[in-house]
């Protein structure tokens, strides 16, 4: 479920945090999807690349230990946290929740933003 920030005219800004595991083999992707069955996941071929990737939606409360263990056990070398921001307003801001920051501090990797104003 996306995190919602209430705005003035009855709208919401919606924010979804994802952990993206990239450059995986198909086999590893399938195993990760089984391993993280308690999370909302999506495995797919990578855009313009040969490998596969897994997109893990991070809920407001989650067990970061399992994600850290997943990254280490499956020896995932390329991963990042992606923040998806959707708003009807042409201005706004985002606070990154503590558990996401904690996860990022522990596993490292990139941090990217993607937004839609519509």
């Amino acid at each position: 479920m996306p995190m919602k920030i209430k705005r003035e005219h009855g709208d919401f800004d919606e924010i979804v945090f994802y952990l993206r595991l990239l450059d995986l083999t198909e086999e590893k992707k399938n195993l990760i999807l089984i391993y993280l069955k308690n999370f909302k996941t999506n495995g797919n071929k990578m855009f313009k690349k040969k490998g596969f990737g897994v997109l893990i939606e991070l809920p407001q409360k989650f067990n970061e230990k399992r994600l850290i263990l997943c990254v280490k056990t499956f020896n995932v070398k390329s991963f990042d946290i992606s923040v998806s921001f959707r708003s009807s307003y042409d201005h706004g801001g985002v606070d990154i929740p503590k558990n996401i920051l904690k996860l990022h501090k522990k596993i490292g990797g990139g941090l990217g933003f993607s937004y839609v104003i519509a």
Partner: protein, 255 residues
Amino acid sequence: MGNNPVTGTDPDGGWVGLCPSCLLQLNNLINSIQAFALSGVASSVLSEITIQATRTAVSSSFLSGITASLSGRINGALSFANGASNAIQSNVSLGLIKEKNPYKQAYSTDFANGQKFGRYASIALGTAEAAIGEIISAGGCTISLTVGGAVIGVPAVGVGATMAGHGTATALHALQNLDRVHHVNSSGAKYRGRSKSLDRKEIEQAASQKGIKDRRDFGDFVEKTKKGALRGNSDNYQFKELLDLAEEFLKDGGH
């Protein structure tokens, strides 16, 4: 699963079910079973069926792809020609006929490219017209001087001067149009024209072209598709791709 009563630790991060190392071992076992099974006779029969099915699928998709591609190219070429004609008309009329908004055309990118081509063509036409006008002017002077026929010479000078003037104005108008579009697209800081806002509101433009009313839903759909396709955060969609997504959105029941 849970804490180990002996060591008091949580070895698999609270995992309920198989641990990652067990999964890896299980996967290896499945692979070896598959390899054994695939070495049998059944596998060759299965592969033959798969090959036939693939051939059928490939041939049908190939044909439909060619048809769609041809129709798209023809429409794109027509739109390019319309764009070029529109830009030339606008420049020759010195702005009396206004340039159309490319994003309101069916093939907006082709139309915009056509307009760009038309602006360059207008500069060439204007320059040629100015040069011919100068020659006629000069000829007019010569005629009036040598023959002394002011009746012939003066109109020639007048026509020549008008042509030269209009040619120069056309070329300048086209140059101004090119300059405006270039500045708006490259920096956006100096000019705050019409094209700037259109360039930046691609989702709205795509939704309006395809008759989508709920822009917010369409925006959500674009973002979800981007994430689902594992595109990078900065791998943004081009306008043509957004139009395709709009069609997909409508097919999925969006409105």
